[in-house]
């Protein structure tokens, strides 16, 4: 460790080269961070899905409705703790570009089934008392500058007409990656005003006593409604989210290929720089050996420099990426989950160090193997 100052001093010898190498590392790790974020954005629904929840949708497709009467029938199945329903509204706020999901919800059980969304009791009470009340996620409230008490006009796309809502509360997430872009209002308001589809709901979410009951309860529900005009398909929330994510196609493959190209390039760039550095310093490394430092010392000395560059660059890049993601989704609404998770950062630092070792290993071994006589003769 006492040689750390020497390694650091070496970094300052060719400041420009060191800066550029650290820069390429930082850029590559920044990119790695962005790729982790993008991958996450497409599969986050899977990561946040509750294990003790089932989604009951129409067997034909999720856009077909289910009758309201299913609610009580499902609730009677042993193992079911609670049930709630939602209906997709699909309205437009000001412009089609301002997309966010709106749901007509069941105010009675929403908070029992989705405890991860946090909202104060006072706001919830105000929401229950106002037929046109609405609750917005903290994310969209911030995006559009909404405050409690604002009146929000939304143009119906599926349900024609101009709908107006009063913001009665703002919900927050209890985890970093909860979806804060939803807009909830009372199902009763929708059902009274819409001209068709009365008495139907979009889908049910069932909360189980224990995740172990999932298979049995799902089977019971689907058998119960088999051969009826509205057959159901029940899956865990996770399975539904992952089916949905898979429809996006080969996003994962795309990201891994880009990541591969980048790392290969990075390895070449750094390896090349380290090789140049070592070549230039052969003389002094030989002096170190001549005055009694071991081969192993020289090996670790060169590797140490490479690792240090990798560590500085890696931390810098990932820190920049974290700052970038705090700025929010660059596509304005298409990627609600735009954030860099902790394990991703750790993985990135691990990768940076691995590249640092791989890039340093060849020059380091050649420095270790060189014969002092040959190197000094050249001076």
């Amino acid at each position: 460790m006492k040689f750390a100052p020497l390694i650091i001093a070496n970094l300052f010898r060719k400041k420009l080269r060191t800066t550029l190498t650290i820069g390429s590392f930082a850029v590559a790790m920044f990119l790695f961070g962005i790729l982790v974020v993008i991958r996450g954005a497409f599969s986050q629904g899977v990561d946040v899905a509750g294990v003790d929840r089932l989604d009951v949708i129409n067997k034909v497709s999720i856009i077909q409705p289910l009758p309201y009467s299913y609610r009580d029938q499902i609730l009677r199945i042993p193992g079911v703790k609670a049930i709630t329903y939602d209906n997709w509204f699909g309205g437009v706020y000001q412009d089609e570009k301002n997309f966010f999901p709106q749901f007509a919800i069941d105010p009675e059980n929403q908070r029992v089934v989705f405890p991860e969304f946090v909202i104060s009791d006072a706001e919830w009470k105000a929401f229950l008392e106002d037929r046109e009340g609405a609750i917005a996620g903290a994310g969209i409230a911030k995006r559009f500058g909404w405050k409690v008490g604002d009146r929000i006009p939304i143009k119906g796309a599926i349900y024609p007409g101009n709908w107006e809502f009063n913001i009665r509360g703002i919900y927050r997430g209890s985890r970093d990656n909860d979806d804060l872009t939803q807009f909830w209002f009372q199902y009763k308001y929708l059902d009274e005003r819409r001209q068709y589809g009365k008495g139907l709901v979009g889908w049910y979410t069932v909360k189980l006593n224990s995740p172990d009951d999932a298979v049995r309860v799902a089977k019971t529900i689907d058998t119960m409604f088999a051969n009826s005009p509205y057959e159901s398909k029940t899956e865990t929330e996770k399975a539904l989210a992952s089916d949905f994510a898979k429809q996006f196609g080969n996003i994962e493959f795309l990201i891994v290929s880009i990541g591969g190209v980048v790392f290969f390039t990075l390895l070449l760039v750094t390896g090349n720089t380290m090789a140049i550095t070592v070549r230039e310093r052969m003389g002094e490394l030989a002096v170190l050996k001549a005055v009694g430092f071991t081969d192993r010392f020289v090996l670790l000395f060169v590797l140490g420099e490479s690792l240090l560059i990798a560590a500085i660059g890696g931390v810098l890049g990932l820190a920049l990426c974290k700052v970038f993601t705090l700025g929010g989704d660059p596509t304005h609404g298409f990627l609600p989950f735009f954030y860099l998770p902790g394990p991703g950062i750790l993985l990135g630092i691990g990768l940076a160090l691995t590249v640092g070792i791989l890039a340093g290993i060849l020059p380091a071994t050649s420095a270790m193997r060189m014969r002092v006589v040959d190197a000094l003769r050249g001076v």
């Binding site: 034909v60 856009i63 599926i158 090349n272 140049i276 596509t331």
Partner: protein
């Protein structure tokens, strides 16, 4: 006097390792850049070719996509008699359609994907001239028969010609495969609109959208004016091609934004690589440079020579990147389009324009990576550099 090009070629050869590193860095960046753009381009082309300038798409006013739409039969009658609608032997070329989604398993993953199912009228092939039967026959009106787009049998399980499938509470027989010329319809399943409404328990007299063949592309104006001024109608009239362009905007923007983001970051990395290569080239060659200055080459000639070398490396990198990406052209992939909520197959489109953009991008990286080292090379005092000998 300019420094001979041969000097640069030979020095690139002498330092081939660093040169290759820089070339690969640029090639990788250009490759990723073009790949992302061609993906966006391919998706957009697929959506756009679905629409025709000769057709108009009519939806209820306020509906964002066909799935949201509701046009009652009375209004369809008005549309059939409206001016600007093409006729074939007195029969108006109008296809009132019912658009729904059904979940079918993907062959690749075994998980369900949303497939757009379109109930069409018997006139549809006359309305949509870009759709032709490829195998089998057109469905018989009134029967539970399906015809599927040419991408469908290979993408979803159980939808091959003469298969029988069960969905939406009915049994359907696949009787034909149609070719829609690479458009979004190639990923759709079509059937009789009335049968679809019955099976999906929708009111039979309500349609999602109406597609109309116009007498000429210019007739849109006339049709639009007549329908939007009619107090009985609450509809919006769009040229079909504009509608599909709009439906493709979301995913296209997403791919473009993400692709450009990734390419710009990679580009900065590649510029760092190029800078590093060129700076070490300059410092390793300070003697040569000083000698050239001493024998009379001007500072300008040295700058030009080094920039040329950087551009050469960038150009080779750009060309390698473009050539490496060419096999992607035509490769089919699929994704979910949010705006129609349905799954769609489309192909990468590597166009000459995109290749050109890629090469320009490469040269730009070379220029940014080459200019500072070139200026440094020219600025070094001759006497100082030669004394270091």
């Amino acid at each position: 006097m300019a420094v001979p090009i041969v000097y640069n070629l030979r020095s690139v050869r002498a330092r081939w390792v660093s040169a290759i590193v820089a070339v690969l860095g640029i090639a990788g960046t250009v490759g990723v850049f073009i790949a992302m753009l061609s993906l966006a381009r391919g998706f957009q082309a697929t959506m756009m070719s679905s629409g025709s300038a000769d057709n108009a798409l009519i939806r209820r006013a306020g509906a964002t996509s066909e799935i949201d739409g509701t046009v009652p039969l009375e209004q369809v009658r008005v549309i059939q008699d409206a001016p600007g609608v093409a006729r074939d032997g007195g029969q108006p070329l109008v296809s009132p359609e019912v658009v729904v989604i059904a979940a079918f398993p993907l062959i690749a993953t075994g998980t369900d994907a949303n497939v757009q199912v379109r109930g069409v009228s018997g006139e549809v092939l006359n309305v949509r001239k870009n759709v032709n039967m490829k195998e089998g026959r057109f469905f018989t009106p009134g029967l539970s028969e399906l015809i599927v787009g040419r991408n469908v049998p290979a993408t979803y399980a159980g939808l091959k010609l003469s298969d029988t499938v069960r969905f939406g509470g009915g049994n359907w027989k696949v009787v034909g495969v149609f070719d829609a010329g690479g458009s979004a319809f190639d990923s759709e399943v079509w059937c009789d609109n009335r049968v679809l409404s019955q099976v999906y328990k929708r009111p039979e007299s309500i349609f999602s959208s109406i597609t109309v063949r116009l007498t000429s592309p210019a007739a849109l104006r006339e049709l639009k004016d007549s329908l939007t001024s009619d107090p009985r109608m609450q509809v919006q009239v769009d040229r079909e091609i504009d509608y599909y362009e709009k439906q493709s905007r979301g995913l296209t923007t997403l791919i473009r934004v993400l692709g450009t983001l990734v390419a710009v970051i990679m580009g900065i990395g590649a510029i760092f690589g190029a800078l590093n290569t060129m700076y070490s080239a300059v410092s390793e060659r300070s003697r040569e440079i000083a000698t050239m200055r001493a024998i009379g080459f001007g500072a300008g000639a040295i700058v030009v020579s080094f920039i040329f070398e950087a551009l050469l490396i960038a150009l080779v990198g750009g060309l390698i990147g473009s050539i490496a990406i060419l096999p992607l052209n035509g490769l089919t992939t699929s994704a979910l389009n949010w705006q129609t909520f349905s799954h769609l197959a489309f192909a990468f489109r590597v166009t000459p324009l995109l290749l050109g953009i890629g090469i320009i991008f490469a040269l730009l990286m070379g220029l940014i990576g080459g200019v500072p080292p070139a200026i440094r090379a020219a600025r070094r005092p001759v006497a100082l550099a030669l004394r270091e000998l």
